[in-house]
């Protein structure tokens, strides 16, 4: 079969699969797994009762600390509480693979039944998680999977946010705000990191394929979010007529916003991923920020806990579950906060909306 024909058939098959599951085709698992909607991951009352009688425990081994991680933790903890599972440890690896391995070894002293974690790097995580796999812990992975790990044997399932949709919706929102034409800059995460790489590329791909009148005139990678402001300064100096800027996540976007403000620029639009109080406040006050795309992080945490519970009772779990993405603008900021982080927006944002 010719490669192009084969490609088309694969695409059709993927589209059919997407339609049948009701999910978005573009966000595929790290191993090409088809997505299952998070809302389809549920337990029956009988299963809940069975799990409650198991005296199970769980550990949350996160890669970093952030608003997103807090929301995932809250979702997971609420679900674990409902299932009578005690959370015995929570860790933050600070994006350090070696620290993540140490965290896993340390937590194994408490023999948790379930581990929820985001493996930092497929290569080094394979060894890092080995002690937990060998001990038969039910591992649920957030977004990333260690090299060579097999679903159902080494881990129960992967849960992620709809990364492609987050990038795509950011592109759509920016395009709409500048009338579908103009010059934009793309500030991406300059690291080998599945989550941000997928989102950043989805933005770029959408602009290039769906918006022929929008040109990406500048690209800049950031490794250290603290340096975003100086990178943005250079971008603005070189391209004073930018219509819009995409920023890979909220923290560097705050630096970009500061740079625009310092330059007295009120016309260049910003879209960024994830919710943040300073950005939302600027958006509500009709500043540079026009939209923030976010995932339903609380729902993601709930789903991870439920997938872990699937593992406890040997219920076949979906290989790859996806929590949906949402675009938050001035119009739906309160609802967006609730849907993403399961709480009200910060007081400053509520006050600014009045």
């Amino acid at each position: 079969m010719k490669p192009r024909v084969q490609l088309k058939l694969t695409a059709i098959a993927a589209a059919i699969a997407a339609l049948s599951t009701g999910a978005i085709a573009q966000t595929m698992g790290p191993g090409g797994e088809s997505p299952t909607l998070a809302s389809e991951v549920t337990l029956t009352d009988a299963e809940v009762q069975q799990i409650k009688g198991m005296d199970a425990t769980a550990a949350l081994l996160w890669h970093t600390s952030s608003d997103f991680v807090n929301a995932v933790t809250a979702g997971a903890e609420d679900e674990f509480k409902r299932l009578g599972i005690e959370v015995v440890a929570t860790t933050d690896a600070g994006f350090d693979s070696a620290k993540q391995m140490s965290d896993i070894e340390t937590v194994m002293a408490k023999s948790p039944s379930i581990i929820l974690a985001l493996p930092l790097d497929p290569t080094t995580s394979a060894q890092a998680f080995k002690s937990a796999v060998d001990a038969g812990v039910k591992i649920v992975l957030l977004s990333n999977v260690p090299s060579g790990y097999v679903q159902g044997k080494d881990y129960v399932g992967i849960v992620t946010d709809d990364l492609f949709q987050m990038g795509k919706q950011a592109a759509d929102a920016l395009a709409e705000s500048i009338g579908g034409k103009g010059k934009v800059a793309w500030i991406f995460h300059d690291a080998q990191y599945y989550v941000t790489n997928q989102r950043d590329n989805a933005f770029k791909q959408t602009i290039e394929s769906d918006y022929p009148d929008i040109e990406i005139v500048a690209e800049a990678g950031i490794a250290d979010p603290a340096r975003a402001e100086e990178i943005a300064n250079a971008l603005i100096t070189k391209n004073p007529d930018l219509d819009g800027i995409y920023v890979t996540w909220a923290e560097p976007a705050e630096g970009v916003l500061a740079a625009l403000r310092a330059a007295g620029n009120t016309t260049t639009k910003i879209v960024a991923l994830d919710l943040s109080e300073p950005l939302a406040l600027d958006m509500v006050n009709d500043g540079n920020v026009v939209a923030l795309t976010a995932d339903k992080a609380y729902e993601l945490g709930r789903t991870m806990a439920t997938v872990g519970a699937y593992g406890l009772i040997d219920k076949p779990a979906p290989a790859f579950s996806v929590a949906p993405a949402i675009t938050v603008t001035k119009e739906n900021v309160a609802d967006g906060w609730k849907q993403s982080l399961n709480r009200e927006p910060p007081q400053s944002v509520i006050d600014a909306m009045k």
Binding site: A98, S102, E105, D121, T124
Partner: protein
């Protein structure tokens, strides 16, 4: 009796504060976490294994600080050495991979040493600059990609292997601390390092080759960071550009808490080991206590502050 009393009075209590603090924290965790697996052999060995790279770097740092210098570039040296050894190991014998990683660390240390000792530039600024440069090299070497290590011998020697039932990382810790302690306390080289830290002018006046010793401590620190890179990559079965990124402050804290003076002349290798184990002990115990990440950071900060305050206060008196 009087002689015994005089000897007892001559003992400097500042040197033992960190040991007492360490034992108190160990006892505290043992009581609080008695049902949480803290006191199991496996967990205690974990602490030693997890801190092995920090301990190795801390030994190098004791020499550097005692000589009145500092090495801020150890973090990215870890990553560069680990990546170079992983690349060499793709097609070579384990020894070549290990040698290449160690050589890379020592060579970077030599570059620092040349600038510090012979160009007379301050080590703080030199290593601040090389820290940034090397972080770029680590990212550029493999274009941010991790490199897996499948050489079982290498992974055994530098990672999860054992010898007579003792984990190799524990052996490395004991070996490096023993060697470091011997050379620091009982060799002519150690005496020269102390003398330079106390007073470079006096050291030069009595014929010590001050530049050569300064150069050598930077090489030693680079080589220790290189070895730490091998230990990390052996443990993880792979190397990544982020390895060691957050280690600098942990190493300096371990060394200072251990009783080494930041401005030279005074130090202790065994104290650095205890400081390093203390850092690992705190990480381990606070996680097992089930505290949230924010609580862990706050409690660790307070305990470290108390330890440093005690060590430095006693040193001053």
């Amino acid at each position: 009796m009087a002689a015994k009393l005089a000897a007892f009075k001559a003992v400097d209590p500042s040197r033992y504060i960190v040991y007492v603090g360490f034992i108190l924290i160990l006892i505290g965790f043992s009581i609080v976490l008695r049902d949480d697996g803290f006191l199991t052999t496996r967990n205690l060995l974990n602490i030693v294994q997890q801190t092995a790279p920090i301990t190795v770097m801390a030994v190098g740092m004791v020499f550097v600080l005692t000589a009145g210098e500092i090495d801020l570039s150890i973090g990215p040296i870890v990553a560069v050495s680990a990546l170079i050894s992983a690349i060499v190991l793709r097609e070579n014998f384990w020894f070549l991979g290990a040698f290449a990683g160690l050589l890379a660390g020592a060579a970077i240390g030599a570059m620092n040493g040349l600038l510090v000792a012979y160009m007379r530039l301050p080590s703080f600024l030199v290593t601040l600059a090389t820290m940034g440069f090397l972080a770029g090299v680590a990212r550029w070497l493999t274009d941010l990609k991790s490199v897996p290590i499948t050489n079982d011998t290498f992974n055994g020697i530098f990672g999860a292997g054992t010898l007579f039932g003792v984990p190799s990382l524990v052996m490395w810790t004991i070996g490096i601390v023993f060697l470091g302690h011997f050379f620091y306390r009982d060799s002519r080289y150690g005496a020269h390092v102390h003398a330079i830290g106390d007073s470079p002018l006096s050291a030069r006046a009595v014929g010590i080759k001050v530049d050569r010793v300064r150069f050598s401590v930077m090489v030693l620190s680079g080589a220790c960071a290189g070895l730490a890179g091998l230990l990390y990559s052996g443990r993880l079965h792979g190397a990544r550009y982020t390895l060691g990124e957050t280690d600098l402050l942990t190493v300096i804290a371990a060394v200072i808490v251990g009783g080494t003076r930041l401005n030279g002349g005074v130090g202790t290798v065994v104290g650095a080991l205890i400081g390093s184990l203390l850092m690992g002990l705190l990480n381990n115990g606070l996680i097992l206590m089930g505290l949230s990440v924010s609580e862990q950071l706050m409690v660790r900060g307070v305990i470290l502050l108390a330890a440093i305050a005690l060590t430095l206060r006693e040193t001053r008196t």
